[in-house]
C-alpha cells in the first residue's frame, strides 16, 4: 500500500495502462511536457514518447474525432478534456459518433475510447470550469459513464475503463485531486471491484444516501455528523452513472426505507430523477418517504463567490435527510 493523492493515483493508473498495452495512447491539450493542468499525466510523455502521449491542437472535437479514428485503427486512446465546460465542442463526436458506432455498425466496430473530464466545482474557478455534465452523457445510449471518488478507485477504475471495449466518459472530481488515500499499486486490478458496480462507503440502517464523485466525501462526513443525532446513514458511492448499479441501490433502500440522492449537477432532470423513479418503481412498498434529491439549482453555475450556496454541503444534505423523516 502507498499513500497517493487522487491525481497521482490516476497518473499511476495511466502509467500501468501504457505499460501493459502498447495500443494505449494519451491525447489532449497540455498533457505532454506540462503534464496536464492538474498534472494527471505528469511525466508520461517523457517516459512513453510523443507518439503515445500526444499534445494535440486546441480543439476538443478534433481530439475526440481523431481518437475515434485511432480506435478504428486498433488503438485505445485516452482523451483528456481540460475542464468540464470545454467538452461541449466535442458533443457531436461523443454523442453522435463515439456512442453510436457499435450500434450503427451492427457490432462490427468497437471504439475503446476513454474521455477523462475533471468535473465539479469548489475550487473558486471562473465560469465553465466547475460544471457537472454527467446527465447528458448518461442519457446517451452506448456510453459508459463513471466517476471516481477516492485514490484507490481512481487507480483501478481508470485502468478498467481503458480495458473496456465500450467508450467510457470518466469523471474526475477536481476538488478531490489532492485528497490522499491508500492505494495498492503493486497488485493489478483483477481483484478490484468491477467499474460498473456501486460500493458501500459507510453502512447504516435508517436512510440510504447516494452520492458520486466529489460528493462522496461530503456524504460520508454528513453520515458521521448524523451519528451525533442518533441517525444511522448508509452511504453508497454509485461509481457507475451509466449503467446504474440498481441492485446495490435497491438492496440498500429496501433495508433502510429511505433514500436521498446528492449531486452537484442541477436537480432538475438530473441523475437523481432517474434514480428516484427507479427506486420508487422497485422499492415502492419498502419506502417510508419519497426519494429526495439535493443538488445544484436550476441555474447556470454561479460566480465562484456564490458556489458554496450552490454546491450541496453537509448541512444541505442533512437537511434533506431530516426531511425524509418528516413524512
Amino acid at each position: 500500500m502507498t499513500t497517493l493523492t487522487l491525481s497521482r493515483a490516476l497518473n499511476e493508473g495511466l502509467r500501468k495502462a501504457l505499460e501493459n498495452d502498447p495500443k494505449v495512447l494519451i491525447m489532449g491539450e497540455d498533457v505532454g511536457k506540462l503534464g496536464g493542468v492538474f498534472r494527471v499525466t505528469d511525466g508520461l510523455q517523457k517516459d512513453f514518447g510523443e507518439a503515445r502521449v500526444i499534445d494535440t491542437p486546441l480543439a476538443e472535437s478534433g481530439i475526440v474525432g481523431t481518437a475515434i479514428g485511432l480506435a478504428l485503427r486498433g488503438y485505445r486512446p485516452v482523451c483528456e478534456i481540460q475542464f468540464d465546460g470545454f467538452v461541449y465542442p466535442a458533443a457531436d463526436q461523443i454523442i453522435s459518433q463515439l456512442a453510436k458506432m457499435r450500434y450503427r455498425s451492427r457490432g462490427h466496430v468497437s471504439l475503446p475510447v476513454v474521455i477523462r473530464i475533471p468535473c465539479g466545482g469548489g475550487i473558486g474557478a471562473v465560469e465553465h470550469h466547475s460544471e457537472s455534465p454527467e446527465a447528458i452523457f448518461a442519457h446517451t445510449a452506448g456510453l459508459r459513464v463513471v466517476a471516481c471518488a477516492d485514490p484507490a478507485d481512481a487507480f483501478a477504475m481508470i485502468q478498467q475503463s481503458i480495458s473496456s471495449d465500450d467508450p467510457v466518459i470518466f469523471f474526475e472530481p477536481k476538488r478531490r485531486y489532492w485528497d490522499k488515500g491508500e492505494v495498492d499499486t503493486a497488485s493489478g486490478v483483477a481483484n478490484a471491484l468491477p467499474f460498473d458496480r456501486a460500493k458501500t462507503v459507510l453502512e447504516g440502517t435508517d436512510v440510504t444516501l447516494l452520492g458520486y464523485g466529489p460528493l462522496v466525501r461530503t456524504c460520508a462526513e454528513s453520515a458521521i455528523a448524523a451519528r451525533e443525532d442518533g441517525r444511522s446513514i448508509e452511504v453508497i458511492d454509485l461509481r457507475s452513472l451509466s449503467p446504474l448499479d440498481e441492485d446495490a441501490i435497491c438492496a440498500s433502500v429496501r433495508k433502510t426505507g429511505r433514500c436521498v440522492v446528492a449531486h452537484e449537477a442541477p436537480v432538475y432532470a438530473g441523475l437523481g430523477a432517474e434514480i428516484a423513479a427507479r427506486v420508487t418503481e422497485r422499492c415502492f412498498y419498502h419506502l417510508e418517504a419519497p426519494v429526495l434529491r439535493v443538488g445544484g439549482f436550476a441555474t447556470p453555475y454561479p460566480p465562484s463567490r456564490l458556489e458554496d450556496h450552490y454546491l450541496p454541503d453537509l448541512d444541505r444534505i442533512l437537511d434533506a435527510v431530516d426531511r425524509t423523516f418528516g413524512f
Binding site: G62, G65, G69, L70, G142, D166
Partner: protein, 384 residues
Amino acid sequence: MTVESGAATTAAPPDQTFVQLLTPEGERIDHPDYPLDLSATEIRDLYRDLVLVRRIDTEAISLQRQGELGIWASLLGQEAAQIGSGRALSPNDMVFPTYREHGVAWCRGIDPVKLLELYRGVSHGGWAPEEHKFHLYTIVIGSQTLHATGYAMGIQRDGAVGGDPDNPKTPERPGEAVIAYFGDGAISQGDVNEAFVFASVFNAPIVFFCQNNQWAISEPLEKQSRIPLYQRARGFGFPGLRVDGNDVLACYAVTRKAMQAAREGQGPTLIEAFTYRMGAHTTTDDPTRYRLASELEMWKLKDPIERVRAYLVRTGLAEPAFFADVDAEAKQVGARVREACRTMPDPPPLAIFDNVYAEPTAILRAEREQYAAYLDSFETGAGR
C-alpha cells in the same frame, strides 16, 4: 459562369484552370504533372463503372418514388469524381465516405444492396468497414474527416507509412493512406477545419477529397467561401489543387498521385473535384426552388459519362458491342438491386436492443425482456 469553346477551359474560373485530361467533347489532353498510361481495357472498365453506378443510382431514385426507400441521396453528375478517385486507391487504403459515395462504395466492393439498407431504414450501415477498408456512411456533415485523420495518425504509429526512414520495413511496404470524402458545404464545418489542422501538424497520410458539386442543398458555393476551395489548403500548410470533377481520368490521376505522396510520408493534400450535383440534394429536395434549369443544361454538356463514351468511340478503343454489353449489364444490375430491395426483410423488433454495448447492460436486458413480453401478450406475437 461562362462556357468557352476549347479543351481546357470548360468550367474553370478565370483565376485557375483545373487539371483536365479528357475534355467534355472526349478529347484526350496531356498535363505535364499528371502523365497517365491507362490501357484501353482499363479505360473501358472505368466507363463500365460509371454506367453501372449511374444505373444503380437511377434505380434507387425509382425505388424511393415507389415507396421502397425512405430517401435517397443521388450521385448523379458526380460519377467521375467518385469512380476516378475510388479506382485510384490501393486495397490497403482506408476510405471515409459521406452518405453520397455510392460510386466509391462500388469501387470498394460493397454490394449496392447494402447501401440501400440505410435508405430503406433496415440498418444504419450494413457492412464491416475493415473488411472493405470503407467506413460507414457518415451523415453529420464533416464529422468523418476527423475519424479519417485519426485513422491516418494510427497508420503513422503502426509504422505503415512508406518511405519512412525510421521504418525498417519500408522497402517491402508500399505504405498505407486514407482518403476522406466531403463536399463544398462541409468545408465550412469546424470538424473539417480541425481535421485540416490535425492532419497538417502531424503530417498525417491523408487525402482530403472535396467534391464541390456547387450546392449544399439550396445554398450555392458563394455562401460557403469567398475563395476557391482548394486554396484553403495553403492556409493550413499543405498543397491543394482543383481537378475537373467530371473527368474520370483526371480524378484518377490526381488522386493516385496525392495518395502516393501520402503513403510516402509527404503528408496531406486537398483535392477539390469541381463537379455538379445534377439531381436534387436528396429525393425530398426540390432544386427548382433555388436554381435555374439553364445551369443544369450547361452542366449536362459536361457529363462525366458521355465524354468517355465519345473518347472510346472516337479512338476506336471500344466496339459497339462493348457498349451494348455494358448497357445489358447495367440493366441486370438494376434488376437485381430492385428485386433485392423489394424483398429486403425488416429486422426483427428485438434487434433494437442489439449492439449498444459490448455486453448488454442490466437495464438493456430488462427493457428487452419487458418489450418481448409485451409483444408476446398479443395473440399474433406482433411480428416476432
